[in-house]
């Protein structure tokens, strides 16, 4: 059996992350990749595709249910164990840190599973990084908006130019050892209270 013949099941409620993993596996030459987003009905999927490897988000609350299926011989013929070589502590740690959980059919050789796991770990990490960057970008955008509003308030109430309003915010922030956005936020809130 070549690696491309391994049946891989990806269970992920996050459709975008699942797609990222699936693309990675296909790019690496795996043709038999099945992706499901919901745990409902997964027993039938497992029976149908008879996976050699199951990759699931470590934080998925339905993992207890999934593992109970492995204990029932009805839905999975062969016993499934997490990672082939349990002594490979570094690989397991990396997976848990990345939030990847993997179940592997007993008897499958380490060298065949390792690349799949490494791929899942790197794709999970890439996804987390992307999510973090999106969050940062969102925060950045919101900060800019709030600073603009604070500047407008200062321009109106003190008759300052835009440049002078910004400088006032910046110097206040520096004096108080806080972020400009925090100062702006306080100012906008205070203005809101005074107006209200």
């Amino acid at each position: 059996m070549r690696d491309a013949d391994l049946s891989i099941l990806v269970i992920d409620e996050n459709a975008i992350r699942a797609q990222i993993i699936e693309e990675g596996l296909r790019a690496a030459g795996h043709a038999r990749v099945t992706v499901v987003h919901e745990i409902q009905g997964v027993a039938r999927t497992i029976e149908r595709v008879s996976p050699d490897v199951i990759v699931i988000d470590l934080e998925n609350p339905n993992r207890d249910m999934l593992e109970s299926m492995f204990l029932l011989s009805r839905s999975v013929q062969r016993p499934i164990a997490m990672f082939v070589d349990r002594s490979d502590k570094a690989a397991i740690e990396a997976a848990v840190e990345a939030g990847v959980s993997a179940y592997v059919v007993d008897g499958l050789k380490q060298e065949r599973v390792k690349p799949i796991l490494d791929m899942a770990i790197s794709r999970f990490n890439a996804f987390s990084r992307m999510a973090r960057e999106l969050e940062e970008a969102r925060t950045e955008l919101e900060s800019r908006k709030i600073v603009d509003r604070a500047k407008a308030i200062l321009m109106k109430s003190r008759g300052l130019s835009e440049d002078a309003a910004y400088k006032l915010l910046r110097s206040t922030a520096m004096n108080q050892n806080r972020k400009i956005a925090d100062i702006a936020q306080s100012l906008v809130m205070a203005a809101g209270l005074l107006e209200g």
């Binding site: 470590l58 609350p61 339905n62 993992r63 207890d64 397991i92 740690e93 848990v96 840190e97 959980s101």
Partner: protein
């Protein structure tokens, strides 16, 4: 999770995380000089994996889990010890309104008595089979849980084979009330607040409770990474002292409202505090508008509620063997027994004046009334601690106990 934490502890949002949560929130751990990082976990599998790789040092876990872990029954099995229990009781069996009606018609009446309700349930199971209906489906929270084992024990003792006559499936606790309402399951055995939540949502009624199936029995323990415990003896002792003092605080009625508010907050269980009061006071709302006061529903102090009895560990082990999770051998029996560590409990609490049982094991089900027993430091009252069917479990006779249950299964 902070870098400088002395101990990183996982928990699953349930009423019986009360001792752990209050130990941290009410400052008992701080008074012991400990910085504790609490981490909420979405599943028992997740807690187990984090314990296995050292991302957690300890956790609020199901009482059978350290045993299963040390027997290597998990896909990834950490080496764990249980030096303290997180209280006694706290679970219930809730059934759909339809099944509650059938139970009533079959003579269950208004009682929570496990024997009476169980006999009615057997009649319901038989009647449903005669009518060609699908077997009843019960949800439990995990394969290696007190819920699974007490539900199976109860069903089997009432003449219902838990594998052939009904179907048992695993579901996360917060999903139980919804699954019951939607008819995906006919009943479930889970901890609070999910039984009360199902009743309040009009999804079902409480049929019986853990305290009626096996009174004064353990539900959660503190599972500690064995390597961590060996390298951090002083921190472990301090942590156990804080947990013990928190357990006393939790047991004081005057603190129940505050405790319910703490546990109900978004950081922990994230529910209406009223859902937690029933379990804390034992005044269980078994059906809309009907409240039953249950003795010893959930105990955190008194009756050695936090003592990690090795007889409890061995009973769970006997049930793992009974239902085919592992094989019985003298070696496995010792692994199971030594997963619970009363010696560490005594070592940590000696200076606190806590009543410390002198024995590591007791005969389960022998005490039919509250009984004064020998203990170091101060007097200790134990019991009643019976199984509902009147059988006793003598850990010295575990071979016979397992054999008789297995024989029963084959002949049944």
């Amino acid at each position: 999770m902070t870098e400088e934490a002395d101990i990183r502890v996982g928990f699953v949002p349930l009423l019986d995380s009360a001792i752990l949560v209050s130990a941290v929130v009410k400052g008992f751990t701080r008074e012991e000089g400990l910085v504790v990082a609490l981490r909420r976990e979405p599943s028992w599998a997740s807690i187990r994996d984090r314990l296995a790789v050292g991302a957690l040092d300890a956790a609020h876990i199901l009482a059978p889990m350290p045993i299963a872990a040390n027997l290597g029954l998990f896909p990834l099995s950490p080496s764990l010890i249980a030096p303290i229990a997180m209280g006694l009781g706290g679970n219930a069996v809730t059934v759909s309104n339809a099944v509650a009606g059938e139970l009533r018609d079959a003579g269950a009446g208004d009682t929570l008595d496990a024997g009476v309700v169980g006999r009615a349930l057997r009649d319901v199971v038989v009647a449903r089979r005669a009518r060609g209906l699908a077997p009843l489906k019960f949800g439990v929270v995990y394969s290696f849980s007190g819920h699974n084992f007490e539900l199976r024990f109860w069903l089997a003792a009432c003449g219902i084979d838990p594998d052939r006559d009904v179907q048992i499936v695993v579901l996360p606790p917060p999903q139980m009330p919804g699954a019951l309402a939607e008819g995906l399951i006919d009943g479930f055995c889970a901890g609070e607040p999910w039984n009360t939540a199902a009743v309040r949502a009009g999804a079902g009624a409480i049929a019986t409770v853990k305290a009626k199936i096996w009174r004064s029995s353990p539900e959660k323990v503190l599972g500690v990474s064995r390597p961590w415990a060996q390298e951090n003896a002083a921190a472990l002792d301090a942590f156990l002292r804080a947990l013990y003092r928190a357990a006393l605080w939790c047991a004081d009625r005057a603190n129940h409202e505050e405790l319910a508010r703490i546990l109900a907050s978004p950081r922990f269980i994230n529910v209406d505090p009223a859902l937690l009061m029933t379990g804390l006071t034992g005044a269980m709302e078994v059906a809309p508008g009907r409240t039953v006061q249950v003795d010893d529903f959930f105990l955190t102090a008194g009756k050695a509620a936090t003592f990690p009895w090795q007889s409890h560990a061995l009973w769970f082990y006997s049930q793992m063997v009974r239902w085919g999770f592992c094989s019985h051998s003298p070696h496995n029996t010792l692994i199971a027994r030594d997963s619970y560590r009363p010696d560490l409990y005594r070592r940590a609490l000696r200076g606190l004046g806590a009543p410390l049982p002198g024995a590591n094991l007791k005969v389960e089900g022998a005490l039919v009334a509250p009984t004064l027993v020998g203990a170091a430091n101060s007097s200790l009252v134990l019991g009643p601690d019976g199984f509902f069917d009147g059988h006793i479990f003598d850990p010295d006779q575990i071979d016979d106990y397992i054999r008789s249950q297995m024989d029963e299964r084959v002949s049944g």
